[in-house]
C-alpha cells in the first residue's frame, strides 16, 4: 500500500517538498543544539522544561483522541465512524511520532537514550510513559494498516485484530493519564499537584484531537474524491462540544480549589499565568486569549445552528485547537515552574532555534500524517470506485 | 501474475552500478593503505612498575570492561579500592591512578583509540593533568 504515498499530483509533491524544507531547517538547528547543548534554548535552571515538553504533552492528547472514533465504532457499533476510524488512527500515529521526537530533542544526552531500557526503572513515570507511548504507536500502526488492507481487499479484517482494537481503547486513555502522572506526582510543584490533572488532560485532548480531525476531514473532502461524510463530522462536533465544556468546567474546579483555599504554593502559579507575579507577566495575554477562545468555541459548538453550519464549525474547531494549544502547549509547563520552589520568578521564553526545532518536529509529524492520509484516502477512493 | 518485460533496463542497471560503486568506494580508497598498528610509548614510571593493575594481556583486551566496572563500583557502591589477582591494592581512579602511571595520555590512550577509531567520552569529564595545565 505504501506506493500510494508516492503517486500524487504536483501540489502533493510541492507540499511534501515544503515540509522537507522545514524539516531541514529544524534538523540543522538540532545539530547545533546537539553540538552546543540545550543552552541554545530558552530553558533555565528554574524553568527546566519548556516548549519541547509542552508540545509533547499537547500532542499526547491529540494522539489519545483517536479513541473518540474507535470507541463508538467498535464498542457501540456506530457504523458511521467506520468511514473515518482509519483517519483517527493515522492521526494518532503521526502525533505519537511527534511526541517521541519531542522527548528526544529535549534530552541533554540523547546518545544515551537507551539507558532507559538498559536500566529499567519502574518507579519512574517516564519509564511507563515510554512503554505506553511506544505501545500505542505500534497498536495504531498494526490496527490501521490491517484494517485498511482488509478494506482494500474487500474482506473482513483478520480476527486476531479484534483484541488489539479493544486493547487500544484503554491504552489511549493510559497514554494521557501516564503523561499527566509525570507532573501531578511531583511534591514541590503546586500547579500540577492536583488529582484532576489527568482528567483535565483527557478532556482537553478529546476537544483538541477531534477538532483537528474535523478540520482534516473537511480538508480531505476538499482535496480528494473521498468524502468522510457530514454525519461523521457532525458526530465528532458533538464530541468536541462536550469535551471542551468539560475541560473548562475542570479548569474552573481548579480555580475554585486554588483560590478558595488560598494556599500560596498552589495559587501563585495561576496568579502568575493570569495576572503576573512580581512584575513578570509574559504569559498573561496568552492565557486570557486561551480562555476567550475556549468560551467562544463553547458558544459556537453548543448552539445547534452554529454547530451544524460547517463554516462556523470550522471556526469553532480552530478556536478549540488554538485555545487548548495555548493552555497546554504554552501555559501548562511554564506555569508549573514559575515561581520556582524557592519562590523566585524566572520567566521562560523559547528562543528562535528552539522554535525552529519544534516546528521541524511538527513538520515531521505532518509529513507522516500526509503520507498516511494519502494512502488511506487513495484506498478509500479505489474501493468506492471514484478514482 | 503473467511475466512482464523489464522496463527501464538501462536506468535500473545504471542505478545499481552507482549504488555498488558508492558501497565499495571506501574500501577501494583505502586498498593497500592499511595504517600500521601504533606503538604505544610507556612512561618511565609505567616501565619501572613493570605491571599494570592486571596482566598486560588482560589490560590490552579488557581495560574498557575493567574501567566500566570500576566506575560502577566507585560511583554506585562507594567501594574505591581494587584488590587485584595477586592481592595488591589500588585506588580505582582514572585520573589519579591510571594517569598517574600512564602520564602520557596522548602517547598511550589516544594513539590507540585514534587507530581503532573509537572516541570514549571519559575525557569529557575526567581530567588529564597534562591537557589542563
Amino acid at each position: 500500500m505504501l506506493e500510494k504515498a508516492l503517486k500524487g499530483s504536483k501540489k502533493y509533491y510541492g507540499w511534501i517538498a515544503a515540509l522537507l524544507a522545514v524539516i531541514g531547517v529544524g534538523f540543522a538547528c538540532y545539530l547545533w543544539q546537539f553540538q552546543f547543548g540545550l543552552g541554545i534554548t530558552g530553558m533555565s535552571r528554574d524553568v527546566s522544561w519548556g516548549f519541547y515538553i509542552a508540545q509533547f504533552t499537547f500532542l499526547v492528547g491529540v494522539a489519545a483522541s483517536a479513541v473518540m472514533v474507535v470507541l463508538p465504532y467498535y464498542l457501540h457499533n456506530y457504523k458511521a465512524f467506520g468511514r473515518i476510524t482509519i483517519l483517527g488512527e493515522f492521526l494518532a500515529v503521526a502525533s505519537v511520532t511527534m511526541c517521541i521526537l519531542f522527548i528526544f530533542v529535549d534530552l541533554g544526552q540523547p546518545t544515551r537514550v537507551f539507558n532507559v531500557l538498559l536500566h529499567p526503572t519502574p518507579n519512574s513515570v517516564l519509564f511507563w510513559d515510554m512503554i505506553v507511548l511506544n505501545g500505542y504507536l505500534f497498536l495504531n500502526i498494526i490496527i490501521g494498516w490491517n484494517v485498511l488492507e482488509a478494506e482494500r481487499n474487500n474482506v473482513a479484517p483478520p480476527s486476531w485484530l479484534k483484541p488489539l482494537i479493544y486493547l487500544s481503547i484503554p491504552w489511549a486513555v493510559s497514554i494521557h493519564t501516564v503523561t499527566a502522572f509525570l507532573y501531578c506526582g511531583l511534591p514541590g510543584r503546586g500547579f500540577w499537584l492536583t488529582a484532576i490533572l489527568a482528567p483535565r488532560f483527557l478532556s482537553s485532548a478529546f476537544a483538541a484531537g477531534p477538532a483537528f480531525l474535523i478540520l482534516l476531514c473537511m480538508l480531505v473532502r476538499k482535496l480528494t474524491k473521498f468524502d468522510p461524510g457530514r454525519e461523521q463530522i457532525q458526530s465528532l462536533a458533538k464530541v468536541v462540544a462536550y469535551a471542551i465544556c468539560i475541560n473548562v468546567f475542570f479548569f474552573l474546579c481548579e480555580v475554585f480549589v486554588v483560590f478558595y483555599s488560598r494556599i500560596p504554593e498552589h495559587m501563585d502559579h495561576l496568579v502568575y499565568l493570569f495576572a503576573g507575579l512580581h512584575g513578570h507577566n509574559a504569559l498573561v495575554p496568552w492565557m486570557w486569549a486561551s480562555m476567550i477562545l475556549m468560551v467562544v468555541s463553547i458558544i459556537l459548538l453548543v448552539n445547534p445552528a452554529t454547530r451544524k453550519n460547517e463554516t462556523t464549525l470550522v471556526a469553532a474547531c480552530i478556536t478549540v485547537f488554538i485555545g487548548t494549544w495555548i493552555d497546554k502547549g504554552l501555559g501548562m509547563i511554564s506555569g508549573g515552574f514559575v515561581p520556582n520552589p524557592l519562590h523566585h520568578v524566572t520567566e521562560y521564553v523559547p528562543t528562535i532555534p528552539e522554535l525552529a526545532i519544534s516546528i521541524g518536529v511538527w513538520a515531521i509529524g505532518f509529513l507522516v500524517l500526509t503520507a498516511l492520509f494519502k494512502i488511506a484516502v487513495s484506498i478509500k477512493e479505489e474501493v468506492s470506485g471514484v478514482s | 501474475m503473467p511475466k512482464k518485460k523489464m522496463y527501464d533496463q538501462g536506468k535500473v542497471f545504471a542505478g545499481l552500478a552507482i549504488f555498488v560503486g558508492l558501497l565499495i568506494f571506501p574500501f577501494l580508497l583505502n586498498l593497500g593503505k592499511a595504517a600500521p598498528a601504533p606503538e604505544l610509548k610507556l612512561s618511565d614510571k609505567a616501565k619501572a612498575a613493570k605491571e599494570c593493575v592486571e596482566s598486560k594481556a588482560y589490560m590490552t583486551a579488557e581495560h574498557m570492561q575493567l574501567l566500566n566496572e570500576w566506575r560502577e563500583t566507585v560511583v554506585r557502591n562507594a567501594q574505591r579500592v581494587y584488590v587485584n589477582s595477586s592481592g595488591k591494592k589500588f585506588e580505582m581512579s582514572l585520573s589519579n591512578t591510571c594517569l598517574d602511571c600512564h602520564s602520557e595520555k596522548a602517547e598511550f590512550c589516544d594513539k590507540c583509540h585514534n587507530y581503532a577509531a573509537v572516541t570514549p567520552y571519559c575525557w569529557d569529564c575526567h581530567v588529564d593533568p597534562k591537557e589542563t595545565m
Binding site: 547543548g37 540545550l38 543552552g39 530558552g42 533555565s44 535552571r45 528554574d46 527546566s48 522544561w49 529535549d106 534530552l107 541533554g108 544526552q109 544515551r112 537514550v113 539507558n115 532507559v116 538498559l118 536500566h119 526503572t121 519512574s124 517516564l126 519509564f127 509525570l182 507532573y183 511531583l186 511534591p187 514541590g188 510543584r189 504554593e265 508549573g336 520556582n340 520552589p341 524557592l342 524566572t346 | 570492561q65 566496572e69 566506575r71 563500583t73 560511583v75 554506585r76 557502591n77 562507594a78 567501594q79 574505591r80 579500592v81 581494587y82 584488590v83 589477582s85 595477586s86 592481592g87 585520573s95 589519579n96 567520552y121 569529557d124 569529564c125 575526567h126 581530567v127 593533568p129 589542563t132
Partner: protein, 261 residues
C-alpha cells in the same frame, strides 16, 4: 561485549555482596597479599561510614554573606563547579538564600531583623524519601546505603525529570560544556559534561578517604556532620539540645539537613 561485561559486573557485584558478610576474612586475605584467584573491590580502610549522614547548620554563628563565602568557595572549587555569567545556565551546589525563600512555607511578615536579613546556606537535602530518585528513569540519581543521594554522571540522559521533582530547587543542569567556565580545575576531581544534571554530593569522595565534607571543615564549627542513626553522634547531640527546623516539612521528603535558627 555488552553481555560479557554485564556478566562480569554481576559477578563482581555478587562478590562484593558476599564481601559484606565475610568481610573480616576477605580483609585478612587482602592484607596477607597471598595468591588470590579473583580480583575484588572494597572500601578504603579510612572511609567514614554511617547509617544516615546528616548536616546540622547552626545559623546563629553566621552574620553575613562573608561568613558563608569560604564554604561555598571551597565546595565549588574542589568539585570543579563552573561559574557561568548567564543566570539561566547557573550551576551551584551550595549557595545562600534569604529566609523567605529557603523557608518559603514557614515565613511571615514579622520575622526578627536578624533572621530576615541572614543568608542561609542552601544545598541538596539528601532526603530520606528523595523525589528525584523516584523520578529518574535510569537510576542515574540514586540513594546510597548511607543516605547520600548521588548522581551517576555516566548514566544521566539529561531528561531533567529530577529537577522537576526536587521540591528544593537543589539541582543544576549543564546547558553547555562547563569546562571553559572553570577557573582553576581541581585535577583530583572530574568535571562534568554538557547535558547532565548535577548537585551537592555530601563530599562522597572525601568521606571515602576519611575526611568530612569540605564545607564542614572550613565552617569553624558552625556546621556539624554525622550519623543521624547514631545517638552519640555530634549531630544527634545538637538536635537534642537545640530547636531545629527543616525545609518544607509538610512534603514528607525527610531532609537530612537541619537548621538551628
Amino acid at each position: 561485549m555488552e553481555e560479557s561485561s554485564r556478566r562480569t559486573f554481576l559477578k563482581l557485584a555478587g562478590f562484593s555482596a558476599l564481601g559484606l558478610g565475610a568481610k573480616p576474612v576477605l580483609d585478612a586475605f587482602a592484607s596477607s597479599g597471598g595468591e588470590q584467584s579473583k580480583p575484588m573491590v572494597m572500601k578504603g580502610a579510612d572511609a567514614l561510614k554511617a547509617k544516615r549522614w546528616a548536616l546540622v547548620i547552626d545559623t546563629r554563628k553566621f552574620e553575613s554573606e562573608k561568613d558563608l563565602e569560604p564554604m561555598i568557595e571551597v565546595c565549588h572549587k574542589i568539585h570543579n563547579v563552573p561559574k557561568l555569567a548567564n543566570k539561566r545556565h547557573e550551576i551551584k551546589w551550595i549557595w545562600t538564600e534569604e529566609f523567605k525563600h529557603i523557608f518559603s512555607t514557614q515565613t511571615h511578615a514579622f520575622l526578627n531583623d536578624r533572621v530576615k536579613h541572614l543568608p542561609f546556606l542552601t544545598l541538596c537535602n539528601h532526603c530520606e524519601k528523595p523525589a528525584c530518585v523516584r523520578a529518574c528513569p535510569t537510576k542515574a540519581t540514586f540513594k546510597r546505603e548511607d543516605g547520600i543521594v548521588l548522581m551517576d554522571f555516566h548514566r544521566c540522559i539529561g531528561c531533567r525529570f529530577c529537577m522537576a521533582a526536587c521540591p528544593y530547587g537543589s539541582r543544576s543542569f549543564n546547558f553547555r560544556d562547563p569546562r571553559p567556565f572553570i577557573k582553576e580545575t581541581n585535577l583530583k576531581f572530574p568535571t562534568r559534561m554538557k547535558g547532565v544534571v548535577e548537585k551537592c554530593n555530601f563530599c562522597a569522595e572525601r568521606l571515602a578517604v576519611g575526611k568530612v565534607p569540605a564545607c564542614v571543615e572550613v565552617s569553624k564549627g558552625a556546621l556539624a556532620f554525622g550519623d543521624l542513626e547514631d545517638s552519640k553522634s555530634k549531630v544527634r547531640e545538637l538536635l537534642s539540645s537545640n530547636f531545629t527546623i527543616r525545609r518544607k516539612p509538610a512534603l514528607g521528603a525527610g531532609p537530612s539537613v537541619f537548621y538551628i535558627v
